[in-house]
Symmetry: C2
Subunit: 295 residues, 2 copies
C-alpha cells in the first residue's frame, strides 16, 4: 500500500478514511497538525516537528494524551511497513468529538489522523530557476487573535491569501501585517537577500517560526552569512538581490517573480544555503539511524 | 428519529455520520455554516440565514452548487418527517474533498452536512435574571485577515476567547478589537443600554452582523428606542444600565455579570425588546406558513 491513512492507529486506504461530523476538527478547525518528509528511513527533524505539535496543542489547551516518544514510535511502526524511499507525512490531531459548542471540555479524547504518501519531489528547476509568488494585501492573523505559531486546522486566512494572489498563478502567496511588512507565505516562510545579508522577519512577528527557517539560521551562522532580523516591505522584496521561501517539504527554494515582475536573478546565497541544508540532512540522518525507533 | 444527520441528503443517525479526512472542512476549516431554530413548523428567518450562507460562501469563492430555494426545500423535505415542535438546525457546507493544498480548485464538489436535534430551550431565568459573561483580551479576527462576517469552519479565535474567559465560568465570552472596543461574543452579538439608548457596535467593526441583532434594530425602531452605533469599552459595559446578547438560538438574553462583577440590574429595554421579538416570530410564522415549501 503506497498511500495510506491511519485513524487512531487503524491503517486503511485513503478513500476509506473518515471522521465523525461531530469531530471538532471538522466543526471548528479545532485541531493541530504537522507535515514533514522522510529521506530514506528517516523523518527529517522529526523531534522538532513533534515538539512543535506539542507547543501548538499547549497554546490551545489541547491534551494530546500521548508522549512525543510514543507518537514517534507509532508513526515509525506504520512507516516501516511501507518502504518507499521518500514519504510525505501529515499528522493531524483534533480535540475529539462531542456536543457542538465552544467549550473544549465538551470533547472526548483526541483523534489522530496520520497520512502517508510517496513524496513528490518538486521539479528540479524550482530549485535552480525559482518559483513565482504573489504578494497579497491579506493580513496574516494577528498573534492576539490566533497566533500563526499554532499550526492548526484554521487555514482560511491562508486560503484567502492564495485566492487573492491567484491572478499571478503563484506557487506561493505571501501575506502582510498591519504595518505593511511581509509576514510569511501560506505554507512557507519567506526571506530576502540584500548584498551578503539575509533579511529575515523577526521571530515576534505574526509568523510560524518554521523549522527550515531555523535551519537556514544555523547554516548561515556556520557559513559566515549575515542575518538581519527586521521587517521588510513588498518593495524591498521586489528590489532584493535574492528572494527565497523555506518549508519542510520544499526545503530552500528561490523566487524568480513576484506579482508577475521578475525578482533578483542572483543566487549566490541561496545556493550556499541549499548546499548547507543538504549537509544538515546527511548529518541528521546519520544521527537518526542510531536514535530513531525503527522497530 | 429525534436527532439526525443528513450527509449530502442521505439521512442517518448522528453516530454514523462521517466525512472524509480529505474534506477541506476537516483539513482547513474550509467550510461555511448556519445555525437556526424552528418554532413549530417554521425555521425562523430562514431566508436571511440561507442568504448569509451564500454571502459567506461568496467571500470564500466557494460555489455552493445549489440555489437558496433548493437548499430550503431540501431542509424542509427532511424536517417534515421528524415533527418535534421545535428543532435546532445546523447546516455546514464544505468546499469538498481533494488532494491537500491551499488551492481551492483542488476540491471536488461541496459536501452538505445537515444536523437536526430537538431544541433545548435555555433555562427561563437566563431570560429574566440574565447570564454571566467574560470580557477577554482576545482580539477578534480582523476583517483584513478573516472577516468575522464569514460564518466559517475557523472557530479557534472564538475557542481561545472561551478558554481565556473560563475562570469566570461564563455562558459567553466576548472579544475586543485592537483599539480596545468590544466586538462580539464567541457565538453572539453583544449590546449595552445607557439610559434609553442601545449602544451597538458599528457594522464595519470586526463582527458578524447577526440576524437577531438586525431584528433588535427593527424592534427598537418601531418601539421608539434609540440606537447609537459606536464602539464601546469594557468599562462602559461594566457601568451600563443593561447589557444583553443576541443570537438566533438564544434570542435576546440579558447579562447579569461580567468577569464576576454584577452588571446593571435594570431590564426595561431588554424586556421591551424581548416582547417585540416575540411578535416578530409570530408575524414571521404567519407569513412563512403560506410561503415556505412544506411538501
Amino acid at each position: 500500500m503506497k498511500e495510506l491513512v491511519a485513524v487512531n492507529g487503524q491503517v486503511m486506504k485513503p478513500e476509506d478514511a473518515k471522521i465523525s461530523v461531530f469531530d471538532r476538527g471538522f466543526l471548528f478547525g479545532d485541531a493541530v497538525y504537522e507535515v514533514t518528509r522522510s529521506y530514506g528511513k528517516v523523518f527529517f527533524q522529526f523531534e522538532a516537528h513533534i515538539d512543535r505539535l506539542f507547543r501548538s496543542a499547549e497554546w490551545l489547551k489541547l491534551d494530546l494524551g500521548k508522549t512525543a516518544d510514543r507518537i514517534i514510535q507509532e508513526i515509525y511502526s506504520i512507516y516501516k511497513e511501507i518502504g518507499e524511499p521518500n514519504y510525505y507525512m501529515r499528522l493531524q490531531v483534533t480535540r475529539g468529538e462531542g456536543p457542538i459548542g465552544m467549550d473544549p471540555s465538551l470533547a472526548g479524547k483526541p483523534n489522530y489522523v496520520l497520512y502517508f504518501k510517496p513524496f513528490e519531489v518538486p521539479p528540479k528547476e524550482y530549485y535552480t530557476e525559482g518559483v513565482d509568488i504573489a504578494v497579497t494585501e491579506r493580513l496574516r492573523n494577528s498573534k492576539r487573535s490566533l497566533d500563526p505559531n499554532i499550526k492548526s486546522g484554521n487555514y482560511l486566512n491562508n486560503v484567502l491569501a492564495f485566492i487573492e494572489g491567484k491572478e499571478f498563478r503563484p506557487y506561493e502567496s505571501v501575506m502582510m501585517n498591519s504595518e505593511g511588512f511581509i509576514t510569511e507565505g501560506c505554507t512557507s516562510n519567506i526571506q530576502i537577500v540584500q548584498g551578503d545579508t539575509i533579511v529575515m522577519t523577526p521571530d515576534e512577528f505574526d509568523i510560524l517560526r518554521g523549522i527550515t527557517r531555523s535551519l537556514v539560521e544555523e547554516v548561515a551562522n556556520t557559513s559566515g552569512i549575515q542575518i538581519q532580523k527586521r521587517g521588510f516591505t513588498a518593495q524591498e522584496l521586489f528590489d532584493a538581490d535574492e528572494v527565497f521561501i523555506t518549508s519542510s517539504t520544499r526545503e530552500i527554494m528561490p523566487v524568480k517573480s513576484a506579482n508577475g515582475k521578475k525578482t533578483g536573478k542572483r543566487s549566490t546565497v541561496v545556493r550556499a544555503l541549499q548546499e548547507g541544508y543538504k549537509k544538515k540532512i546527511e548529518e541528521y540522518s546519520r544521527w537518526a539511524e542510531s536514535h530513531h525507533p525503527w522497530n
